[in-house]
Point group: C2
Chain length 191, copies 2
């Protein structure tokens, strides 16, 4: 069995290490903010050797990117409700829940930091960003295929995700009414 | 003459120190990102004593906030063109120029970092945010007084500023057409 197969075996040592390391990163980002801890501190908290972290992830930036993407995918999977309106509302509400949750701000700051933290950070951020935008575009394409309004993932980024991110960063509340209002502005049913 | 009067005397030692310290902060944020330098490093680069920085600004967070606010006010003063359309377009274009300029990304990251960097950072970010939102609301209120469309500063935050900030953070270009399009979406002349 090679390392890759072992990594994917549920409940195996590799999966356990992965979960411990992800948890350690999430806690450290939450406590100290991005950029204020080292691979050594992640490893110590996760109870693994530094070399295990470097062997598996290569760099702190790559690890941070994987943690952010895993959390986003787990907490805000792209919905498929059968209508664009349902998909947009479900997705917007899930993102709002996630970024206002216990370590939501840490996650937003991580995404922001990854997006502009030098060449390596940019690469990690780009991959994260491209993956999420691709998933979002697939959801919007399904609506277009059904004859509903054609939207671009960038429209959703600009007028649903960006306002929520900025409001959370500036300490404002996201009420369900506010989040629904963002969807209302963008989506014209029947258009 | 007390310290406060001296600080405001143009061309005096205090003004010179202020300019040197602001320049040092801008350079360090640009080179290393927010949070990766100390008051000591700012002071060394500005050629002043650490104690001068602490005496005048109290903390690194307060200094960073003042630098960000000064730059925003100098580079994007609120326009007063006589029409809401002119004001919004002028303001949006100025912000776009500023955040895509040589150290624009550093400024955006500083604003984001200040907004969520613990109790002291939050306070500094809050002051910066409240001051800018107040200026923006005054511009919008003038339009309302003229009988033009009534807009809230938060609408401009959500649908003009937030998309531009997020796009810059994710490395996307802001074309004049894109920026004008954001204004078009928000402002319905004659409304």
């Amino acid at each position: 069995m090679n390392e890759g197969q072992r990594a994917r075996r549920p409940g195996g040592r590799s999966a356990r290490v992965g979960a411990q390391v992800h948890q350690a990163v999430t806690e450290l980002v939450s406590e100290r903010g991005y950029g204020n801890f080292t691979v050594g501190e992640v490893a110590a908290r996760a109870g693994v050797a530094d070399s295990s972290v470097y062997r598996r992830w290569g760099s702190l930036e790559a690890l941070l990117s994987e943690v952010a993407l895993t959390r986003l995918n787990a907490q805000s999977p792209m919905p498929d409700t059968g209508s664009l309106d349902g998909d947009l509302r479900t997705y917007a509400a899930a993102v709002a829940r996630e970024i206002t949750g216990p370590d939501g701000l840490a996650l937003v700051r991580l995404a922001v930091a990854l997006s502009s933290d030098g060449p390596q950070g940019l690469k990690a951020g780009d991959a994260l960003f491209a993956e999420r935008m691709g998933q979002l575009q697939s959801m919007l394409d399904r609506a277009g295929d059904r004859g509903e309004q054609v939207l671009d993932a960038l429209d959703v980024l600009d007028h649903i995700l960006a306002p929520m991110y900025i409001r959370v960063l500036f300490g404002m509340e996201l009420t369900p009414e506010y989040v629904d209002g963002l969807v209302d502005r963008l989506h014209r049913p029947g258009a």
